[in-house]
């Protein structure tokens, strides 16, 4: 909770911290610590709440354009007021609880989900001085808080007293548990390379440029690129995004474990999904894309939080593009992809990262050998496992289509 403004950075860089200190400076000194914490909480809620509102609009607009239709365009200019119309609609809808449902658990499920997904925002460094909670083990905290969302999915499915909701919750749990493994395993090499479990430390480990041009981001190493790919695929599945959105599958399963939810509780689930996507993208930026660091030394005058926002929005746009492009997987294909492909690849990637950090002192022509071996360690298993995964599965024939 100690956000100290570094003195050598520009005014724009320090602006958020200066603003916070000015606000809490109005209070007597004993209350300042609490005031600072409250201001940080309000800032995170406000920024990500607004981002959520406009992400729903952006997603509908982008999906619309991809499918050759205009998307929402009636409320405000270019549909800009659509999120607020949706919010009012959600708030005024009737909240239906099934007669036989477990009312306490039915109420607690969305609350627990949103609480745990908000907790994850506290450890992401949004800028040079913008990190709400500085902890030694913040990467571990991020995934510990995220893993509690499974519990609320189960609570939602079971408390609805609807056998289809329960089945859907089980399917969702199978997916969440399966993909948590490659997600965590793809993070371990980063911790190995950075030598720290704190998010600020991981970002600091990626500072600097090679030849003043190529940033030292983890994604620009062989194991980092592979880890980033595994992390992003697992993040798609963990946040229930297409093509892994079969827990919800609104067109086929009537929203799965959310069937019995309506009104604002449903909106909370929806919000938690977007928050999860934002948090996982923010973690991907922190772990692999250099966090708030600028890509070039000449571009360092741009405030660090602007770089973070840019990278975050780019990743989220990628999520939306994937949703517009790929069809949904089946549950057996989904689990097979996790257990037979992503988990072995992530384990091998750990070995690649170990090789990479052991051969750190290699120079000259040995550097070429280092790259060749690491690339072979990444590409070889990928090609072999990929061939095995799709073995015996020829092109699909559609008999009745």
């Amino acid at each position: 909770m100690r956000l100290l403004a570094t003195t050598d950075s520009s005014l724009l860089e320090r602006a958020p911290v200066l603003l916070r200190d000015a606000l809490s400076g109005l209070l007597p000194p004993p209350a300042r610590w609490t005031a600072n914490a409250l201001i940080e909480i309000v800032a995170i809620l406000a920024v990500f709440g607004t981002l959520f509102a406009f992400l729903t609009l952006a997603e509908r607009k982008i999906l619309g354009r991809v499918q050759n239709r205009p998307g929402p365009n009636r409320t405000g200019w270019f549909g800009l007021l659509q999120p607020f119309a949706d919010g009012i609609k959600m708030l005024t809808k009737e909240d239906i609880v099934p007669h036989a449902a477990d009312p306490v658990l039915h109420y607690l499920a969305p609350v627990a989900l949103i609480a745990f997904s908000l907790l994850t925002f506290s450890v992401i460094p949004y800028g040079r001085d913008l990190l709400a909670v500085r902890m030694d083990a913040s990467v571990l905290f991020f995934f510990a808080a995220g893993s509690a969302t499974e519990l609320s999915v189960f609570m939602a499915g079971w408390s609805s007293h609807n056998k289809y909701s329960l089945f859907a919750a089980m399917r969702a749990l199978a997916q969440l548990i399966s993909y948590e493994l490659p997600l965590l395993l793809s993070v371990v090499p980063v911790v190995l390379a950075a030598g720290t479990l704190s998010t600020a430390g991981v970002v600091a480990a990626q500072s600097g440029w090679k030849w003043g041009l190529v940033p030292h981001w983890h994604v620009f190493t062989p194991w980092g690129a592979a880890g980033f790919a595994i992390f992003m695929v697992s993040a798609l599945a963990e946040s229930n995004r297409s093509p892994f959105d079969l827990p919800e599958a609104e067109s086929e399963l009537i929203a799965g474990h959310l069937t019995e939810y309506s009104g604002f509780k449903y909106a909370l689930f929806f919000m938690a999904e977007y928050f999860g996507m934002c948090a996982l993208s923010g973690m991907a930026v922190t772990l692999f894309l250099g966090g708030w660091q600028a890509p070039l030394p000449a571009l360092e005058f741009v405030p660090s939080y602007a770089w973070f926002a840019l990278k975050l929005l780019a990743l989220i746009a990628g999520f939306m593009w994937v949703r517009a492009t790929l069809p949904r997987l089946r549950i057996d294909q989904l689990t097979r992809l996790a257990w037979k492909f992503l988990v072995p690849l992530a384990l091998i990637n750990l070995g690649t990262a170990a090789f990479w950090s052991l051969t750190y002192p290699w120079g000259g022509s040995l550097q070429l050998l280092r790259w060749a071996v690491a690339l072979a360690l990444v590409m070889g298993p990928f090609l072999l496992l990929g061939r095995r995964l799709s073995a015996g599965l020829g092109a699909r024939t559609y008999r009745y289509a």
Binding site: A144, E150, E180
Partner: protein, 171 residues
């Protein structure tokens, strides 16, 4: 500081007590999960950050799921999760078993040579913790890892025991 500890202790013990007294097994499991989260909060209060998050990740995230699945898979119908009041003999057995466990635990705690806590808590970083685990306690870590791997392989063998799939099943 002690008020925080009292609140944490009351929350942890209270959820555990209510979990034992409920008829609905699933409610008990969820309250048990809350108890585990309370233990994690206690670790956090005591300054053991890494242990707290590991507790959260393992118990609240994973073990709770295992227990929930075990409850759901061993019931015949969803109305079966609310256990009927048991016979008096079962209550007597349960009390005897509970008393035995409590006696063993009490004896172990009272006989263990617990050093009185130093005035200041040692600040242990995650890096030091990792060094300790990989250095002095590497053997026990390996033993636990082997045990878990054997359990995992056993689970895979049990799960893969069915008849082979017909080729037409997977389009």
């Amino acid at each position: 500081m002690n008020t925080v500890l009292v609140i944490l202790a009351l929350a942890t013990l209270g959820t555990a007590a209510v979990a034992m007294s409920l008829r609905n097994l699933l409610h008990s499991v969820l309250l048990l999960t809350a108890t585990w989260a309370g233990v994690a909060a206690f670790y956090l209060w005591a300054g053991a950050e890494f242990v707290a998050f590991a507790q959260l990740l393992v118990y609240v995230g994973a073990i709770s799921m295992a227990v929930l699945f075990a409850v759901l898979l061993t019931r015949h119908s969803r109305d079966d999760v609310a256990a009927p009041p048991a016979a008096r003999s079962r209550g007597v057995y349960a009390a005897a078993a509970g008393a035995a466990v409590a006696g063993v635990l009490l004896a172990a705690v009272s006989l263990a040579p617990l050093a009185t806590a130093p005035a200041r808590a040692p600040a242990v970083s995650v890096r030091q913790l990792g060094g300790e685990l990989m250095g002095a306690h590497a053997a026990s870590l390996l033993a636990v890892a082997v045990l878990l791997t054997v359990a995992l392989v056993g689970a895979v063998v049990l799960a893969a025991g069915g008849p082979p799939e017909k080729p037409g099943d997977t389009p």
